[in-house]
């Protein structure tokens, strides 16, 4: 049987960072077909249940399949008296098990995921990938971003980072990625999870860019 050997339509970097009281996740909306910028409006920052943000890079169809798995899980957990009770931390572990299981069947879901959310005062941010590798950290970045953006996020991170500061850090890092990663567009979404406000994912918006640095002056 032929199993998944490569991703087809792909999304590039997803970034995540914690701030005081919440987490924030960013990704652009491009779906690349190889090097072709094929789809311009693929939403890769999503909500799972009431409390969790999921960002995914890699194969877009696998990302959607994963969202369905999570939705089915949450459906089982729905009762008339209480909303689904799975925490972001639990969903992170669940996804890690699914991804490790799939890779052990030599049929991986070709993604790198960022999982973030807040529940009962527990601010969580974590990473899962197609091999089942998973960890929790104050900052997370996938794909190209793990080389270029992650050091920037680490440098900027503080315990008492405000939401506004976190947003600036992510926008700056996304801008750097747009300059250096050939699989991006400057149209991004930012998702925020806080205890009080639940989940809020922005509509796509354009980053301001400045190319003057590249213009040779005589």
């Amino acid at each position: 049987m032929q199993r998944t050997q490569q991703p087809i339509v792909t999304g590039t970097s997803v970034l995540g960072i914690k701030f005081d009281g919440g987490v924030m996740v960013a990704a652009d909306t491009l779906g690349s077909y190889g090097s072709l910028a094929r789809f311009r409006d693929l939403r890769r920052v999503r909500q799972a249940g009431e409390y969790t943000l999921l960002g995914g890079s890699g194969d877009y169809m696998d990302f959607e399949a994963m969202l369905e798995y999570v939705d089915e899980l949450l459906l089982e957990d729905t009762t008339l008296d209480a909303p689904p009770s799975y925490t972001p931390r639990e969903l992170h572990q669940y996804l890690a098990r699914i991804y490790y299981n799939k890779r052990s069947e030599f049929d991986p879901l070709w993604n790198q995921l960022v999982v973030g959310g807040v529940r009962d005062g527990d601010v969580f941010l974590g990473y899962v990938d197609l091999q089942g590798t998973h960890y929790e950290d104050e900052t997370v970045a996938t794909g190209y971003g793990s080389y270029i953006a992650r050091p920037l996020l680490r440098e900027a991170y503080r315990d008492d980072l405000t939401e506004a500061e976190a947003r600036k850090v992510l926008e700056d890092a996304m801008r750097v990625l747009f300059y250096r990663d050939a699989r991006t567009i400057n149209r991004i979404q930012i998702g925020v999870a806080t205890e009080a406000g639940g989940i809020d994912i922005s509509e796509p918006f354009e980053l301001e860019t400045d190319w003057t640095v590249g213009i040779r002056k005589h």
């Binding site: 209480a82 931390r89 098990r97």
Partner: protein, 259 residues
């Protein structure tokens, strides 16, 4: 009088729409040694009256730890209970593996009930002959459930099942409204007092009384024998059958395989 025609297997309804095989399985629970449970807003206590099946044997255990956050007590066929306990422990371990968190008590109880139901609709199996009191503490707080061979499960503030449990239930019904705010110490005292109601002529001792506790910041654990002895001493005065009239069951025979 037609009962015997309709009671020989679990796939036959009686003309009244009853399933006698399930009711007989529930009878096995009633014959089992008494066990009870009660909960406050922070803790759950379960207690059981242990039986000695043979003179030279020890007392049969009735209370079992499932996981750090869960324990059960059983009434009915011990062997069936062991199977269910193994299932519950496995499910808790699986949840730990998949979600890195303790399994929600209500979820496990629902699965357990579904498992019991599947044994009531198929000619090739019999219903489980055991009732459980499931005590647990999870992110939605403390819980005390009863499961039965019929596949139903109930969410209680306090409950007693097994032989002579009616007298314990009478005691619990009189006091349950005070349990929500009760301290752990008070819960244990109530548990022992109620358990004594089920003991009949037998004196409640540290050997035949067993108690488990689980709750907020309190992993499931058994109360030590000398702890029980001390509390029994503090309660004073041996067997106290307050209202024998309420007792609805005979004492189990010594050779009874039920716990």
């Amino acid at each position: 009088m037609f009962r015997t025609m309709f009671d020989s297997d679990v796939t036959t309804f009686s003309p009244m729409g009853r399933l006698h095989q399930i009711e007989y399985a529930q009878e096995a629970v009633k014959q089992g040694g008494a066990t009870l449970g009660l909960r406050s807003d922070e803790h759950v206590v379960i207690a059981g009256l242990l039986r000695q099946t043979k003179k030279l044997s020890g007392h049969q255990p009735k209370l079992f730890v499932i996981d750090d956050h869960m324990a059960v007590s059983i009434a009915g066929l011990t062997a069936d209970a062991r199977l269910l306990i193994k299932y519950m422990r496995t499910e808790c371990l699986n949840n730990k593996y998949v979600f890195d968190s303790p399994l929600q008590v209500a979820t496990l109880v629902a699965d357990l009930a579904d498992k019991a139901q599947s044994h009531t609709q198929d000619y090739s199996s019999r219903p489980y002959g055991v009732g459980l009191l499931v005590a647990g503490y999870d992110k939605s707080g403390p819980h005390l459930f009863e499961t039965s061979p019929s596949g139903s499960a109930y969410d209680f503030r306090a409950q007693a099942i097994g032989a002579r449990s009616q007298s314990a239930r009478t005691y619990l019904e009189r006091h349950y409204e005070t349990f929500a705010d009760a301290s752990l110490e008070e819960l244990i005292t109530h548990a022992l007092t109620a358990l004594r109601e089920t003991a009949g002529d037998t004196e409640l001792t540290a050997e035949n009384a067993s108690i488990m506790i689980v709750g907020k910041d309190t992993p499931a654990h058994e109360l030590a024998a000398d702890d029980i002895a001390a509390r029994l001493a503090a309660l004073g005065g041996g067997a106290a059958a307050e209202d024998d009239a309420a007792n609805d069951d005979d004492e189990g025979t010594n050779e009874n395989p039920n716990a």
